[in-house]
């Protein structure tokens, strides 16, 4: 009954009016961030981090606010998928496949409500999974030494590169780029500067917030300038919103199955929500067979990816909290938040700072209910947000990014660096090089090197120490398989094309 008493502790924190208010604000902001095309969850959370900082929130409050934004963005992504046929964020891509055809049949309201309920089921089950599984995994994590951590970081890069990208070499380059950037600054062990080229500004290293905001937010602005803000008018009208009880009832098993698939995909380090929604949709599609009518606007095709996506979002928090290895791009950004708040995720977090972990889990449960209430009766409010034209939205995002980064250090150098990362992000995405591994590299580079060096100190330079425990060997095998297997599964795992009018 450990879990119940822990949950009681969590709810005692989460139900304080102030925390509750933060959760509601976070859910609202998150849904807007998710709904707006061009402002995804990682980018939205990244922009908000510096601002959270200057507000002087304590660790629990900041974490509650940001994870509410994170869950909210996962809900919000479906709105523009269904109404505009533009995924509001990457995981919502699969929702366009059946959501948009359904909306075109005049059932936009049904699709929005159904996907809202599916999101709730996915997120709720994943949060339950998180609170059952995380303490267990935290206990296993005590067995992890530096050799295991090194292998685990490697696994994160490999699965991320293998699953999330179409070209392994490009994903590996992105990871190396991030790792290389992480090396800039004073070396932790020897205290001597590396790769600073005598530049004083680089002695502290490159702040990952600068990189994240540059790579995601500023790069997005360049893409909108290139596209001249095309494709942002409302494609379908939203008529009356009623609750389609029949569809919800008939898709109950779909929601449960997809939640399970999504949750497992989310736990894999590096794989994340996009994989969750993808696998959930594909497995339901093959279960339904040819007569299922997937792709023509069926209820199951709307429910599956949304349950999968939100369950994966919850699952991705498991490795992030217990091992300090993020399961997706957005959890990488949340990890950045934890690090800047001086909280080290990992097994000790559960024993040293139970109020942070359990407060977070309790507020996730609350946020979920808030989100269901916001996203079903109030869905019209968020539909209205989609009417904000990109020529107001994108300059606004840029200005908020600048102020946020500027308020971190007050130096023009970080702003220049951010613009530089924006250009880099634009070029990389043009060349189909994924940018999430860069972020992961910058975040984890220091830890990965530390783990390697500590392992070598223990083993006195014997490289075989890296493969000395069953856990480490298992992780190495998983890493190699995770990187290589997708090459042979390309044909099976090919992403379906977006529906075109």
């Amino acid at each position: 009954m450990d879990i119940l008493s822990n949950l009681a502790l969590g709810f005692s924190i989460a139900l304080s009016p102030y925390t509750l208010m933060l959760a509601v604000i976070g859910c609202f902001l998150g849904t807007i961030i998710g709904a707006l095309p061009g402002l995804g969850p990682s980018n939205g959370v990244a922009i908000l981090i510096p601002i959270t900082f200057t507000l002087g929130l304590d660790a629990t409050s900041a974490l509650v606010l940001m994870t509410s934004v994170y869950y909210g963005a996962m809900y919000g992504g479906r709105i523009s998928s269904i109404l505009l046929n533009i995924p509001g964020d990457e995981p919502a891509l699969m929702t366009t496949l059946d959501g948009y055809p359904m909306a075109k049949q005049g059932r936009a309201g049904d699709a929005l409500v159904l996907s809202g309920v599916a999101s709730f089921v996915g997120a709720f089950l994943a949060t339950i999974g998180l609170l059952l599984l995380a303490p267990l995994l935290a206990r296993v994590a005590y067995l992890f030494g530096p050799a295991e951590y090194f292998a685990l970081y490697l696994l994160a890069f490999c699965t991320l590169g293998g699953m999330a990208s179409n070209n392994q070499a490009k994903a590996a380059i992105a990871a190396c780029l991030g790792l290389g950037i992480a090396m800039v600054g004073v070396d932790n062990n020897s205290g001597l500067p590396r790769f600073t080229f005598g530049n004083m500004h680089l002695m502290d290293g490159v702040d990952f917030l600068v990189a994240i905001v540059g790579l995601f937010a500023i790069a997005e602005v360049f893409f909108f300038i290139e596209g001249h803000g095309k494709g942002s008018s409302l494609g379908v009208k939203l008529e009356k919103v009623t609750i389609p009880w029949k569809d919800i009832w008939t898709t109950k098993w779909t929601m449960l199955r997809s939640s399970l698939v999504g949750f497992i995909a989310g736990i894999l380090p590096g794989a994340g929500a996009s994989l969750g929604s993808f696998l959930a949709y594909m497995s339901e599609k093959s279960l339904a067979g040819k007569d299922g009518g997937f792709g023509t606007g069926v209820a199951r095709g709307v429910a599956a990816p949304e349950s999968g996506n939100n369950a994966a979002a919850g699952g991705a928090l498991v490795p992030m909290l217990t091992l300090g290895v993020p399961g997706s791009g957005t959890t990488a950004v949340l990890l950045a938040l934890l690090m800047t708040l001086n909280i080290t995720p990992g097994p000790t977090l559960f024993t040293d700072r139970p109020e942070v972990v359990w407060g977070l889990i309790a507020s996730l449960l609350i946020a979920n209910v808030v989100l269901l209430l916001m996203n079903v009766p109030m869905v019209r409010v968020f539909v209205r947000v989609l009417l904000v034209p990109p020529w107001i939205l994108l300059p606004g995002v840029t200005m908020i990014s600048f102020v946020g980064i500027y308020s971190l250090s007050g130096s023009y150098f970080d702003l220049l660096l951010m613009v530089g990362f924006g250009i880099l992000g634009y070029v990389l995405r043009k060349l189909d090089v994924p940018t999430v591994p860069v972020i992961l590299g910058i975040l984890l580079g220091g830890h990965m090197e530390d783990a390697l060096r500590r392992a070598m100190v223990i083993a006195d330079g014997n490289l075989m120490y890296l493969f000395s425990s069953p856990i480490a060997i298992g992780l190495w095998i998983a890493a190699v398989v995770g990187f290589i297997a997708p090459m042979f599964l390309r044909g099976v795992l090919a992403k379906p094309q977006r529906v075109s009018d």
């Binding site: 290389g180 020897s190 590396r194 290139e226 102020v403």
Partner: protein
Amino acid sequence: MISDRIFGLVVVLTALAFIASATQVQTSFLTDPVGPKAFPMGVGVVAALCGLVMILKPDPDPVWPVGKTLLALLVAVIVLVAYAYALKPLGFLIPTAITAAILSYQISPRALPAIITGLGLSIGLFILFKFALGLGLVPFPKGWFS
């Protein structure tokens, strides 16, 4: 094809430069078996190999912006760099209004909405940041109104 080859070459050269500068990293007398050089050099080697793979097995070319669009992007970059330098000495309001207006114009080339967007964002965000969130922003250049 050619884009990936060029990018691969850039990666290889950068990686080699990175490895070369890693060999120059000073080591202190108190060091561990790995030292501060090995990990960056390993990263450099992996990056160089992947760069070679890209040169040998390039993907199809993306569509690069040309002409006006490229110009619009260059203008945006220049404006953002100028904004980064201007924010401290010139205060928040004026540079923000100008930058936001130019960016807005680059996305949708209509002058009047762009100017209104610039002014609105500049004043609106200032009020939001200064009074609602309590950030210490300076509205105008030093010496005005004082």
